[in-house]
Every structure is written in structure tokens, then in C-alpha cells.
Subunit: 331 residues, 2 copies
Amino acid sequence: MNEASVVAGLRALIGAPSGRVRVGIGDDAAVWSPGPGQLQVITVDECTEGIDFRRTTVRLEDAGWRALAASLSDAAAMGARPLLTVVSLVVPGDLDEGGVILLYQGMADLAARHGVQIVGGDLSRGEVLSLGVTVVGEVRPSNLKRRSDGRAGDVLAVSGPLGLSRAGLAILEGEVDRECIDATLVERAVAAYRRPQPRVAAGRFLGGSRSVRGMMDLSDGLAADLPRLAAACAAAAVIDADALPVDPACRAVAQAMGVAPEDLALEGGDDLELLCTVEKRAFGYLAERVRARLGRALLPVGRLEAGTGVFVRRGGVQRPLDVQGWEALRR
Amino acid sequence: MNEASVVAGLRALIGAPSGRVRVGIGDDAAVWSPGPGQLQVITVDECTEGIDFRRTTVRLEDAGWRALAASLSDAAAMGARPLLTVVSLVVPGDLDEGGVILLYQGMADLAARHGVQIVGGDLSRGEVLSLGVTVVGEVRPSNLKRRSDGRAGDVLAVSGPLGLSRAGLAILEGEVDRECIDATLVERAVAAYRRPQPRVAAGRFLGGSRSVRGMMDLSDGLAADLPRLAAACAAAAVIDADALPVDPACRAVAQAMGVAPEDLALEGGDDLELLCTVEKRAFGYLAERVRARLGRALLPVGRLEAGTGVFVRRGGVQRPLDVQGWEALRR
């Protein structure tokens, strides 16, 4: 069973969105119109202990932060401003009341940074700690970005270097000896894994740009997410591996692990950077504006082309992508 | 750890709702205003295998139906019209793609009855099957009912007889020999447990009545939910056990189990009837209108009084309530 196949089955069962619903199953968030000229986005993300995090490598506050971050990132990827959240928390037997408060403390810290209110939720007991976070946001209709709106010829760009969170995970899971990595890089990578920053300001800015066509977030890694974007756009995607913006910490960790830094960066989820497709002739100007306005580079990673499939160009040679990102239902 | 204490801790951590949020943590649903004159409700409910249902007693379609029903009922309890839902599904290893589709089939069946659209969700793997269902609805500001708006002197009333779902559970779990119960009653009770009907039309109608002050749904049973309503209203509640509207199936099952029918009806969750507090002098007229409009009786169960606590009056004697309903975090 894989996610794409199940999602296709569910779309067939449920049918196309109608009435006030504009975007249904299959994008980063659903979109509907509560009233004339208004659009809201709604998205949910589940974070489960043992699959999405371990209590041995993140604190409870971090687990709360990470869960909310994933849903805020989905709202950001639509160009929306997140407003509020409801949380379904499954509480295992070894978690006491103080532990529940710590989980919420982490969510509250991140929520406050983005002016998001935690408005409600559900508490239930269960075997395994799990946080289901729903976020509602709003977006000006002209700013809405769907992942399917990219076109052949567009530049593929990301809102920041890739692989930092994956590097943090490798360090925390002992895949590398942290003594072999520069301490500053270790600290940055671990912080990025524990407290990922959803690109809310970047999402709203890119949402407001006419040169940006398609957008999604990179929660599962470019290797998993780019094929979804390319398929949604009915286009092929080519990654330029030689120019891939790999975070220095990811580069150092990959070298210590003896793997190609580009491959680790492609596979790594949780970066929560945004992936967008940009009209080619407008890319330079947009990147300048992003730098001036957000103090952040908009980094090209490749392009959309006519056709299907995802390819990696390395040293002038183009091959099908053979790195795997995160697949939610893979066992 | 109990739910009330955790919820109090979370309210202290998160603070009072502000800005456009009108009702935060602690009611059936949160309420916020997306624009002038508009109110939306949002609520989430988690249904976990082994706690909220067993696959030995309900089919997968029923599990999907039940999960959505719980959240629709929360929206109904605010007086709102439910509009759309997002679903977070945790898929265990023994559930295949066909099983996931069956879960959604049950949700889609119920959603279609109420004009609700399933607009998105999240699929993840895990140890235990769990469905987290978020529902968004809208309500005219004058129709919003909070559970805290009841006053001493109000009549407590429910939208239908109690204990039917609990009777179905007793039959399915083998707490009674189903051969001892009339077959028609067995069928009704089992159907009520497997496919509970959220009182969406009743909720909207009662929402529109000025005589209805406070409202909530009875997902955890009157014995668990009435103390919450009374506490929210800063009032005492008295249940009139001699006049309690116990469903005939619950009465038959209780007799076969050798327990008091009223106690089984008080303890039984999942009825999804609405509990409301009604201005005393308007009760008779409202009950007539409910019968005329919805073909359903509005049944008195007791009253709110000055003071605190919940009491049961039986044969002229009043004692503190000593039946327990469902407590989400009890182990």
C-alpha cells in the first residue's frame, strides 16, 4: 500500500469538491470559501511517537513544536496566513499531566511566534503518544498557490538549503559520531530537527508574487515531494544535483557517513522549506526581492519540463531519480 | 490524571481566547469569526480501536461512520451547520488499501446525509487504528449555544431517550445473552451503537430557539456530561430518575443484566443526543414545536438549581450522583 494509490482511491470515492470547496484531497491543504472574496485553508498532520519522533531524541516540548510546525508549513505552502489550531492528543500510560502540559508548551511557543491560537482539541488515551494537529488559515484569493499550477519551463526553487534537519536526525540517532562534526554545525542541525521553522512569512510573500505558480512544502524531502509536484503539474522535473543547495551541516554529516551529500539532502524530510515553481524570466528579480524582504535566498534546484518523471542531472548526465524520500505508509 | 484537571491546566497555559476567537478550549467546539456577522465552529474527535470501538463488534464502515458522527454531534451541540471535515487516519499493519477505503466509505455515507464534504486529511502508519476527525461548521451568531449559558431554574432536556447505544454495546460485547431480548430491540440497539445519528437538524432547530440557553452533546453519557454542563454554568443539576427517558431496549438489557435501567442509561455514552437547558416557562411550547417540526420529543430529565454538584432524585429522595460516565483519560 502506498499513499499515492490510497489517495487516488479516496478521490474516486469522495468525488470532486463542489459548492464552496475549491481544493479537496491531494494538496498541502484543502481550500474553501466561507463568504464572497474569502478563502480559508484547512490541513491536518499526525505526529506519532516511534514513527515521526522518539522521546529519546526530542523533548516533549519539541514533539509539540514539531507537530504544529508540520501543519503550519502546510498552510504556508498554500500562501496562507495560519490563524488557529485544534489538537487531538492521544496520551499513553507513561505520560502524566505534566507531560501533557509540556507538549502543549512547545505548541504554544511556536503558535505565539506566528500569532496562531490553540482553540481546542480532544484528549484520549491510547498505547502510543500521537498528536493530530489541524490548522485553519486564510488567504487572499489572488494569493492562493496550489501545487498543480507549475508549468513546463518554470524554475524549481526552494526557500532555503536542504538536509539540515536530516543531518540533525543522523546526529541524534547516532548514524554519525558527533565528535567528527564541527560543534556549531551539530548545534544548528540538532536545533533544526527539534524545532523546525515553518516558512510562514516566506509562504505569504511567495503567495503574493504572480511569478510564483505552484508551491508545496518539503515535509517528506525533495525526493518524495518533487515527484508529487511534478505529477500534479503533469510535467517532468529535472534536479540539477551539481548546484543543489546542500546545507553545510548536511554536507559534513554525509561525508562522515560516507554518502553523497546531495543524496542525503534529497532524502531528508522535515526541512519544512517551501518548493515553488517560478516563471523563468522572473526568477532573478523575484530572488532579489525575497532576499531584500525576507533576508533569505530563493535557491534554484532545477526546472519543470514537458513530459513525466523526475530526473537528476549530475556532471552533464541525466538519470531517473533513484533516491527515496519519506513515504507515510511504507513499513 | 483526569480530563477536567488537564483541561484546566491547558486553559491556564494558553490563556483566554482573543481577537476573532470567541470560544476556546472547554466547550463542544471552538468558535471564531472569519468576518463580520459570521461565526464558524471547529471541533476534533479521536476514535481509537480498542478504546472507542473494536473491529470484532463494528465493521470498518461503521468505525468510519462513528468517528465522523462524534464530531458532527459536537458541531450540532453549538447550534451549527457542519460543512466540511478533514481526517487524520493512523493505519495499522493489518489494514490494507481496501480497508482504508471502507473506513472512508462509512464516513462518506454519513457525510452525504448531512451535506458535509470530506476535503482532506493525513494518512500515517502506526500500531493501532485511529481516526481523528475535525469538523468545521458555521452558525448564525444569534443561534450559537454554549454549554455555559444555562441558568438555575432552567429545565434540563434531552433530544431523545437515553441508553440505546449502551444497550447495543452490552449486546455486542456479550454482557447479556441476546436471546433474552426482543429481536426488534436488539436490532435497534445494535444499529444505534454501530451507526449513531448525530442530531444535526435538532441542534440547528434548538440553536434557533431563544428559550434554549445552554447546550452540549451527550457523547460520554449524562452521568459524565451533565457534571461538565453544571460546572460550566456554575449551577447544581438535579436528575429526576423516576421520569428519566430510558430507551425500551436499554430497559430490557438492564433487566437482563440485573442492573437499574436508569443507571445504565445514565452511564451510557455514544447516544449523541443533545442536552439543553430551557427557560422553564417556555418548555412546554418548545417541546410542542420540536415535535411538530422534527417529529421528535424533547424530554425533560431534571433541572438546574442554585449551588454546585449533580444530584439524582428518586422516589422523593435526593442523593449525589454516583454513576460514572465515560472519562477519556481513565485507565
